[in-house]
Subunit: 214 residues, 4 copies
Amino acid sequence: MDQPPRDHNGSVPTKKKPQVAAAPARRRELLDTAAEVFAEQGYNATTVRTIADHAGMLAGSLYYHFDSKESMLEEILRTFLDELWDGYDTVLESELGPRETLEALVTESFREIDRHRAAVAIYQKESRQLAAQERFAFLAESQRKFERAWLSTLERGVAARVFRSDLDVRLTYRFVRDTVWVAASWYRPGGQHSPEEIARQYLSMVLDGIAVRA
Amino acid sequence: MDQPPRDHNGSVPTKKKPQVAAAPARRRELLDTAAEVFAEQGYNATTVRTIADHAGMLAGSLYYHFDSKESMLEEILRTFLDELWDGYDTVLESELGPRETLEALVTESFREIDRHRAAVAIYQKESRQLAAQERFAFLAESQRKFERAWLSTLERGVAARVFRSDLDVRLTYRFVRDTVWVAASWYRPGGQHSPEEIARQYLSMVLDGIAVRA
Amino acid sequence: MDQPPRDHNGSVPTKKKPQVAAAPARRRELLDTAAEVFAEQGYNATTVRTIADHAGMLAGSLYYHFDSKESMLEEILRTFLDELWDGYDTVLESELGPRETLEALVTESFREIDRHRAAVAIYQKESRQLAAQERFAFLAESQRKFERAWLSTLERGVAARVFRSDLDVRLTYRFVRDTVWVAASWYRPGGQHSPEEIARQYLSMVLDGIAVRA
Amino acid sequence: MDQPPRDHNGSVPTKKKPQVAAAPARRRELLDTAAEVFAEQGYNATTVRTIADHAGMLAGSLYYHFDSKESMLEEILRTFLDELWDGYDTVLESELGPRETLEALVTESFREIDRHRAAVAIYQKESRQLAAQERFAFLAESQRKFERAWLSTLERGVAARVFRSDLDVRLTYRFVRDTVWVAASWYRPGGQHSPEEIARQYLSMVLDGIAVRA
DNA sequence: TATGAATGAGGGTTCATTCAT
DNA sequence: TATGAATGAACCCTCATTCAT
């Protein structure tokens, strides 16, 4: 979805707070808490006081660790997208066939949903609006890269006659993309299905359909 | 998704404002405007002043027509769901076979997306959070009804051997549901594809998959 | 001190609030109140709540009339500088001799102090820091114009042998400038001396000194 | 301007911190740093973090050395006023003639500006507001003493016919006072003029005026 | 019907200060 | 001596809402 600058954890290194180097553990904790709340209540509807409550501190104390509510959001999304692209890039560089690539990408996606459920949910709900802001331009950038990867995979597949040629490729792209990511809105980690199992079923539906074969 | 009480436009008829009778046309206009803005910016991020700006009036003036920002949202969603269920109920009462029912529901859904794009987008983005409020209990109610309709259709189809039996029905339900509605997030009315055409392609993918048959 | 763009009362016409056209009377009242408080407590030490208290309203209500505390400050200073330069320009265009020019400028200055005591006091105390901000660049611009006017007057006087040539002109400039404007810090309108009377005495000291002539 | 109690560096010796005894050198350094920042940015606009940054430490660490930001300010001003009055008292006890007294006081003032530029600038900008607080009552006290010294000198001069009798003495006092101290706002130590040189020029203007003698 | 002005309850953020280490 | 982390009060500002006109 994105290809942010390699190093990005400081985003806007304005002040000289220890925002970057020091105590990455606490930082992570707080970001996880924030992500959870953002995902549950929506970014706008979430107050920093709520985040602070969940973290067992006062609202002002968050500003020792972060520049702003927005910078928390940014870091949550950047961290997620970085990991996501680590996985995707590995797949894309493996030179698999189109069908195997699709399977690997979908499976990787469900693994990310499993690991970053909150971040994915936030991404789903907020990215469209956010992408308009310069600060979140990396979201749009990621989306473009994402689209290129999928479209080329689908086109390769059509050329190789493993995917149907009678379908509009862009529609198919959206279909597959949405099909995967919306899962974040209902997926609960630790449920009865592992990410791989869910991926398998989704792939089965996407590839072979839900109708019984004639 | 829901079947609210027949009359629902005032929800809480406390005050004496003529919120109901007078000039239903202007009312509709304003709601359409509001829906457009809500869809574009998100409900929370939208200020009543923005709505008023788009409508060419001052923020306070909206309160002649509506009780509150929330009541505008409620009416937008109720109106949409009412129409949606009009269509769905017609389908469900037609006693079609499971596959034909699924096709009809999906087609009807894309028609609603075409007609109520803004409302659908709002619904997609906000319904989860809203459903927790008593005022928006009708959203949860609608969702339950929606789920029942789909699940029973799918189960009928599995029993009739027109849908695959090796798939988790709930997963399949979510798959189909999401697959359809997320389209509202990118669909633009007046584009090159008619709702029926999009429905046909979606159905083709959902039913038969995107892979080439062996 | 400044030569702002001819029209400047909107400074940053971001939103479409009636900040500009409507109700200039109330606006003036509020700005006068604000100026008084800024002058007395200092800009930074003044809270918008204090201003609102003095105006008999709530803090938030000020934002119906103004964009921000800073925009109030800006408008106060712009209005003052505009009037000041109206007076100065009239003097400078009159082609008086250097001594008469100096007398007229000083007199005009005391009149402005009389009319805009609060604004002058604010200007004295805050302009140095403010001028660094882009928004208040007009302060620096005014200062440059002010300096040019004074320096050229002094130089003309030296050339015409009405001012002493053994003094450093820049030092003299600062001497005269400060001497006049600091008066705003103790001047109270409605006191026993009229601005013209004070100007006369200042001029007497500046021109002829306080020592008895040999 | 003031004559504070002989010992004044702790003002309120409440806690047990070694604020007084330990390492007076470091203390001085920190106060000089703070004074510089206060002078440049204004007391209110200066955060303790900014001071700490300039001193190469963290904000909290300053509290090992000082009770509060305010106590730093107090000590800066007290130290300055103490030295100033050392000089003034020496002059005043010398029983010089009125003109020579005036010359000596002005010269001494420019020497203090040279030595304590930052403190003087702070004094100029903040003393009026500060003097209202009990803690800074010494500022008002100093000002009174200052005024007495100058007024009596001027009156002595008028009586001795070395100063003009046609001028309002209080106005003249303010004129001379302001004339001297505002210099702190633009004076930069190490510039091309020595304090004594500047004093000489100022005195020349104040005593004999800037106009060419008839 | 709509305006203009105000309310009042927060919301994000800053900052002097504290304190255990 | 200094750090790192947190506190808590206050601050500027936003915004849904009200109401007299």
